[in-house]
Symmetry: C2
Subunit: 236 residues, 2 copies
């Protein structure tokens, strides 16, 4: 496995932080998968499990921050090493937010489970979430190996998530217009889809950090397909 | 004005970072005010100004990060000073996100300006945004003076934002149910209200960082009134 640096106490510390982050990322990946499954299958117990599991994710971020502070104090890294440590801390904060979005999805399961069924909504969200979960997995692999090609691939795939999100918005609007009794549930699904789209953005940000860590350079303007601000479905 | 530390090169650096952050916070405060005004008054030029102004906010965060890296490298602060620097960097990241939410609100102005009017929606969002803008202003004052009483006051006021948000959600759902032609516009307003509510959460997080900076202790569990996950308005 590629290391971020030549052997030193600094590297051992950074490796420990990296391992914590990969563990944290794995938990978030699972939370996304299980949250989306709980939503589709209307499984309130599973949803509750995802909600409760978020504490462990928060605790891991806290632990990473403590390690970062200790590393900065003890090793006093310079230049590139210092930027690497800060990049890792920012990635950890983003992954923690991913966990929050997964928890938020799970928290909506009980109310959606007792609302009228929206045909295909759960399955569509699950596909969207699967895409983001796979991007997260690949971003973490790219981080572990400092694989810039994989990181770039993740960045380019975000546009698919944006397209899926816009398609979902149109679908939910149609359901709402067809029957006002669908409005409340569709609003929840719309929030969930928006959050999954934001998760894709956060994962993309993580992939950009990986490229920065590996090359010291910022990734150029990334593709943008998302456009909630201009949903083109207009009422009749 | 209270300083974070006894005179030293470290303090001068930190003071510079603090000033940058206060400047950045002031710009975000303005973006919130102008974004909400543009929304209510359907002023697309003003909205465009807010969207373009976000670059300067992003650039300020970048500048703060560079100062932080330089401070860490040159001054190698320990213990409390180190934690203070990291807390400030995290606050800057949160304030940058507030700016993103203000920009997102402004980006929705053109589409909402050509959509059917939703009675009172713009004015209600503006009241909600004014509340959050005032919280941000007070949080920044609390940060400048390390005023924990003011920071706590900000934290407690977030529950009002949550209540306003839930009231707005109910209102928008009612409009959607009354007339399907309102659905698209109301969805935009719902996203905006949700984002303003998130801004309140971020400001609250900033106020918690102020308390941490001033006392070295974490603020206890903060009040939570927000509950999109359990919107209680059900379709008939």
């Amino acid at each position: 496995m590629t290391r971020l640096h030549i052997d030193s106490a600094f590297d051992d510390d950074l490796e420990r932080i990296r391992d914590l982050m990969l563990g944290m990322g794995g938990r978030v990946e699972e939370a996304i998968t299980l949250g989306a499954r709980a939503l589709e299958e209307r499984d309130e117990d599973l949803a509750q499990q995802v909600v409760e599991g978020d504490h462990a994710i928060d605790a891991l971020e806290e632990e990473i921050d403590q390690h970062v502070v200790r590393l900065l104090a003890l090793r006093q890294p310079q230049a590139g090493d210092l930027r690497a440590v800060i990049a890792v801390m920012k990635m950890a904060a983003d992954i923690e937010r991913l966990g929050d979005y997964a928890k938020n999805m799970a928290k909506r399961v009980p109310v959606l489970s007792s609302a009228p069924q929206i045909e295909g909504a759960g399955a569509a969200i699950r596909r969207q979430a699967r895409q983001v979960g796979q991007m997260l997995k690949d971003m973490l692999d790219a981080f572990a190996r400092l694989d810039t090609a994989l990181a770039e691939d993740v960045i380019h795939r975000d546009i698919e998530v944006d397209h899926m999100t816009n398609a979902l918005f149109r679908e939910f609007i149609t359901h709402m217009m067809e029957d006002p009794r669908n409005i409340s549930a569709c609003l929840h699904y719309t929030f969930i889809a928006k959050n999954v789209e934001r998760m894709g953005d956060l994962v993309t940000g993580g992939a950009e950090q990986v490229i920065f860590l590996a090359t010291g350079e910022r990734f150029g303007d990334r593709p943008k397909g998302e456009s909630t601000a201009t949903i083109d479905v207009q009422p009749d």
